[in-house]
Amino acid sequence: MKITKLAWALLLCLCIISCSSDNEEDLTGQIGTLDLKFDNGVGDQDFIFGTTYNKSNGESYKLTTLKYIISNVRIKDSKGNIFNYPTADNVFIVDEANGNNAGEIFITLNNVPAADYTEITFGIGIDQTRFLLGADGQGDFLAEAQSAGMLWSWATGYRFMRFDGTYSNGTVTDEALAIHMGSVGTSLDNYREVTFTLPNTVRVREVAHPEIHIEADISKVFDGQTSVNFADGYSQVHTSSETTPVIADNLKSIFEVHHVHNN
């Protein structure tokens, strides 16, 4: 009896060892799903609508709307191959209001080739190429952006972000705050891209459904590369060629790949 058990155990050992020494897994034709999870925070606090957050300069703000456009997601695998998500579907609105109980917003990428991915790049906003496809070339996204309030008129283009709420400082209380940064037609390009090396490999497989957890520290929109004062024209940011690039650069710096789940 005991010998049989020993034999089984040995067999199990062998199986495990032989599995792990298999280094060339054939992934040809295999596809899977990859989730990007966005979690907005303010410094080391979770973001909550209507909660007052302090800025570096003594000003404070609270928001009722928080959303931004993510596009042109592409991922690089361990062999250097780059997978561009299909252009027509590669544009998303990350809207805090659509979050789950924990305020997490998911972008699901389907039909991703199975591979071990090590790097992710994405854009914030809409690049000029996509914009120049014209109003007819935007697929469903035009309507989606319109109903989400992320579009001015076509000539002006998309709002890349909407932070709406109020701000207070030593002199004013609960004044309107509206950060609606975007490109301005073709005359001002505020599209930005960020690339992250993933903290560990993301294994996309037919049976696995990994998740990349991206944290966004929205305080850096105001206290990022440049610290801005609401009192100095940054409480209303729309199409100005002075303020929008500053906000675009700050917005680019809010993201961080926090961790990766492989399961």
């Binding site: 058990k5 050992c13 924990a102």
Partner: protein, 348 residues
Amino acid sequence: MKKILTIVIFSPFIFSSCSKDDSAVYVPKPLHFEAPSNFPDIAYNLDNNPLTEAGFELGKKLFYDGKLSANNAIPCAFCHEQAFAFTHHGHTLSHGVNGGIGLRNAQPIQNLAFQKDFMWDGAASHLDLQPIIPLTSELEMGETLSNVIEKLKADSYYQKQFGLAFEDGDINASNMLKALSQFMVMMVSSNSKYDKYVRQEENVSLSQIEWDGLNTFQNKCATCHATDLFSDQSYRNNGLSINPRLNDTGRFKILENSEDLYKFKVPSLRNIEFTFPYMHDGRFETLEAVLDFYDAGMTDNGNVDISLKRDDGSFGISLSTYEKESVIAFLKTLTDNEFLNDKRFSEF
């Protein structure tokens, strides 16, 4: 590495072959519960549920068993990981079956024998009844007691272990909950640096900054975080802004008494270095964020605890930069590595 692998692979066979030789006869081996000398009196009535080795083992097995959940994959331990004082590491809110997300931050499991009631809002008035809440919550374990009992009845381990643990040997909800309590009652965290300092053991002393922090703590925090449990076990509204997504009214949900609006149980601070994120909804990731909140982030939501009112009518606890720094240094002396690594409570 090979040795570990061999042990891991062999151990189920060893255990199963051993256990076959025993027969399920109830011969209670009492387990001694020792209350730390610096703690208040035990609240749990051990006479109604005498601790035994077999009962503790059964409780531990249940605690780590996914069978208690609808998809057989979410044990209690899923949201209560030992390395983080039995909290859900890094999660603001707990995750449950089928991707469900709960409404509150998982609290640590430690020193529960000394608590009068349980959960952030006190919904459970007895430790034996507490597990029913997560077990039946659709967002957490999504099961029913009767279904769990059916699953346990079909399992040979439980068929035997209930017999060893309880005189009547019945596999029923009452015995299951008592076994879980036996396991949880034994989970006492009382060997932190602070404990050894106050009990004058092993010549432990606090550094200057820890000692300063303890003083500030006693002056400014200990009204609510009282006794060496670091909670007076009351329910208070500490002036957090209301999260409209959750709109959690706290203890108000229990009796719908407007005086209870936004009140939550004062949490213990033991092992707080590892139980982040903080507050009932996990909104603060660091202790710095917590103290910044008490210093300058409180909101008058209409029912804030009077002890948090300053002389000028505003709410908050004024803390200097050094006071924050030293309070955090002191709070870290509440880390109990013996508890966090205690093999008696570990799954493996």
